[in-house]
C-alpha cells in the first residue's frame, strides 16, 4: 500500500512569536523554522507502517515555499521514498491546500493519507477533514493508535471525553495526535542518502487549482497582556489572598 504523508514547514515550536509593528502579521524574519511537530508524528507513523511491511512506498508532499525542501529532506531521511513539493510563497488557506492534496491523491492513489491534526502556526485543524470530503475518503482525526488489517483501518482517536475506536474503510485520511508515537531522529548517513531521493517540484497552477481565499486577514495583534502578579511567601498568605483579595474561594 502506498502512503502519502503531508508535511508543513512552520515556525519552530520553541520560538516566541511576536507581532509586526504594523499589525499586518506575525514577524517571522530570521526565526527558526522546522517541520510541524504533528507532521513529524505522521511521518514516523508512515515509516513504522513500512517497517511492518504494510506500507510499500511513502510519498511525502508539501505545499509551501522553496525552503520546505528542508523539511521534505528530513522526511526522506526518516524513510519517505520520494517527494512532491507544490511550491508557493503565498500562505494558502486550508481549503486550497486540501484541493491541491486532492489532486495529488488522484494522481498517486494512496491507500492512506497521513497528516498532522493541526499546524502550530495557524492552529486551524482543518486540512485532513477537508481532504477527506473532497476525495470522498473515510476520515479519522486525532489518531492515537493506527492498525491496518486488510481493507480496514482500526483507529483509536483522542476525543473530548476520552478515547473512541473506529473502523475506517481504506483508502482513508488520518490526522495524527500527540500520543500516536514518538518520532525518531534522522541519522547522519540517512540524511546524506535522502539528498539523492527524487523530489518533484510543481506549482499550484500545474494542478489547475484556484488557490484564492475568500478570507482576508485584516489585522494581527498581540493578545491582551496579563497584569504582573505577585509572589506569596507561604500557604497562609496564598489562602488569605485567594479569600480576601481575589475572593475566588
Amino acid at each position: 500500500m502506498k502512503v502519502l504523508v503531508a508535511v508543513k514547514r512552520v515556525v519552530d515550536y520553541n520560538v516566541k512569536v511576536r507581532v509586526k509593528a504594523d499589525q499586518s502579521d506575525v514577524d517571522l524574519t530570521n526565526v527558526k523554522m522546522a517541520m510541524n511537530p504533528f507532521c513529524e508524528i505522521a511521518v514516523e507513523e508512515a515509516v513504522r507502517l513500512k517497517e511492518k511491511g504494510v506500507a510499500t512506498e511513502i510519498v511525502v508532499v508539501s505545499i509551501g515555499p522553496k525552503k520546505s525542501e528542508e523539511q521534505m529532506r528530513t522526511a526522506m531521511a526518516l524513510g519517505a521514498d520520494r517527494g512532491i513539493l507544490i511550491e508557493t510563497d503565498e500562505a494558502l488557506d486550508s481549503l486550497a491546500v486540501a484541493k491541491l492534496l486532492n489532486k495529488v491523491v488522484a494522481d498517486e492513489q494512496p491507500g492512506l493519507v497521513l497528516l498532522g491534526k493541526q499546524s502550530i502556526d495557524t492552529d486551524n485543524n482543518q486540512t485532513g477533514q477537508m481532504l477527506s470530503a473532497l476525495a470522498g475518503m473515510s476520515l479519522g482525526t486525532y489518531a492515537s493508535e493506527v492498525a491496518i488489517e486488510g481493507e480496514q483501518l482500526n483507529l483509536v482517536r483522542e476525543i473530548d471525553g476520552g478515547l473512541q475506536k473506529l473502523q475506517l474503510k481504506l483508502p482513508a485520511v488520518v490526522t495524527v495526535d500527540l500520543r500516536l508515537n514518538e518520532p525518531r531522529y534522522a541519522r547522519l548517513p540517512d540524511i546524506m542518502k535522502a539528498k539523492k531521493k527524487p523530489l518533484e517540484v510543481k506549482t499550484p497552477a500545474d494542478y489547475g487549482v484556484d488557490t484564492a481565499s475568500k478570507v482576508t486577514t485584516l489585522k494581527v495583534e498581540p493578545p491582551a497582556e496579563r497584569q504582573a502578579g505577585i509572589k506569596v511567601a507561604s500557604v497562609e498568605e496564598l489562602v488569605d489572598k485567594l479569600k480576601n483579595e481575589a475572593k475566588v474561594i
Binding site: S94, K169, E221, P223, K231, L242
Partner: protein
C-alpha cells in the same frame, strides 16, 4: 440573516459548549436554529430548545448520525447550510472533526475557534498558540465557523423553542463505523465548564502522586487538568490535557502544580480569571502569568492548602 448552530451532544444530553456557541450566534444576529443530529436524541433536542435565543430546533434522528461520524453527518449539514448565512459549531473534538468536512462540501473556507464576533463577516481568532490574535473577514456565501467556548458567555436555559424533525434521507456512507469508546467517568465538574481547575504537570512525578491533587479538588469542587508532559508520561488520560492542542479552559481560579508554563500550556489557560502557580523553580515561566506565585515544593504545599481552605 439566519444561523444554523450544530449542537454537540451525547443524544441524552447537550454538551455545554453548545450554549456558548448560541451566544456567538446571537452576537452575529439573526434567526438562530439548532441542529441536533443523532440517534434517539430527543433529550438533547429538548435541552437545545431551552437555550435562550434559539428560534427552532431541527432534529435529525437516525442510526447513521449516532456518534456524529463526519462522513455521514457532513452531507446533512452541508445540505441544510444552503438555507443559512452562517453555520456554527462548538470547537469541541466533534465540531472540529465535522465542520471542515462541511465547509469543503460547500466549497467555502472554515474559520476555526473564533473568540469574538466583530460583525457578521469579521471574527477574531488566536493563532500561533495564542501568541497573536488575528482579525479575519470572510466573503464566502456561507460562513462556516467553530466557536471557542471561553470567548462567549453561555446563554441561559430559559427558552422554549419549537422542535421540528428535519426531512432527510439519511444514509450511512459506509466509510467508517463506530467500534467503541472509553469515556472517563468522573463526579467532578467538566474541565471546560468548571469554576475552579487544579492542574498537575510533570512535577507530580507519577500517577500515584497525581492522585494527591484529589483531596484539594474535592474541597474546592474543582475539575482536574494536566499538562501534556503529565499525559504523555501516563499519569492521567488524554482528556485532561490543557493547552494549544488540548482543552481550552478559562475558570475563575486555575491552580497549576508542577507545571513549567510552556507557551503550549499557557495557550489553554491564560484567560483564566485568577491564576495560581506552585513551582519549586522561581524562574519557571508559569510565574509570568500567575497572579499569585508560590515558590515551594508542591508536595509540602498540597496538604497545607487542603487544610487551610
Amino acid at each position: 440573516m439566519s444561523i444554523l448552530v450544530v449542537a454537540d451532544h451525547h443524544n441524552a444530553d447537550l454538551v455545554a459548549a453548545t450554549a456558548n456557541t448560541v451566544a456567538a450566534a446571537q452576537k452575529i444576529g439573526g434567526d438562530i436554529h439548532v441542529l441536533v443530529a443523532g440517534e434517539a436524541c430527543q433529550a438533547a433536542a429538548e435541552a437545545a430548545a431551552k437555550l435562550e435565543g434559539v428560534a427552532k430546533v431541527l432534529v435529525a434522528d437516525h442510526a447513521a448520525y449516532n456518534h456524529q461520524l463526519a462522513e455521514n453527518l457532513a452531507p446533512l449539514v452541508a445540505d441544510l447550510a444552503k438555507a443559512y448565512s452562517h453555520v456554527l459549531a462548538p470547537a469541541t473534538t466533534n465540531g472540529k472533526n465535522l465542520m471542515p468536512r462541511v465547509a469543503a462540501l460547500l466549497d467555502v473556507a472554515q474559520i476555526s475557534e473564533i473568540i469574538s464576533v466583530e460583525s457578521a463577516d469579521t471574527f477574531k481568532r488566536p493563532i500561533y498558540a495564542g501568541s497573536a490574535i488575528a482579525t479575519v473577514q470572510s466573503s464566502d456565501a456561507v460562513k462556516v465557523l467553530t466557536v471557542r467556548a471561553t470567548g462567549f458567555d453561555a446563554v441561559a436555559a430559559t427558552g422554549n423553542a419549537a422542535i421540528e424533525a428535519v426531512a432527510q434521507d439519511a444514509q450511512d456512507a459506509g466509510l467508517s463505523s463506530f467500534v467503541g469508546e472509553e469515556i472517563a467517568k468522573s463526579d467532578r465538574p467538566e474541565l471546560t465548564a468548571a469554576r475552579v481547575v487544579i492542574s498537575g504537570g510533570r512535577g507530580l512525578g507519577s500517577a500515584e502522586n497525581f492522585a494527591k491533587l484529589d483531596p484539594l479538588a474535592d474541597k474546592l469542587g474543582a475539575a482536574i487538568g494536566a499538562s501534556r508532559a503529565a499525559v504523555d508520561a501516563g499519569f492521567v488520560p488524554n482528556d485532561m490535557q490543557v493547552g494549544q492542542t488540548g482543552k481550552i479552559v478559562a475558570p475563575e481560579l486555575y491552580i497549576a502544580f508542577g507545571i513549567s508554563g510552556a507557551i503550549q500550556h499557557l495557550a489553554g489557560m491564560k484567560d483564566s480569571k485568577v491564576i495560581v502557580a506552585v513551582n519549586k523553580d522561581e524562574e519557571a515561566p508559569i510565574f509570568q502569568v500567575a497572579d499569585y506565585g508560590l515558590v515551594a515544593d508542591l508536595f509540602e504545599v498540597l496538604p497545607q492548602l487542603e487544610q487551610q481552605i
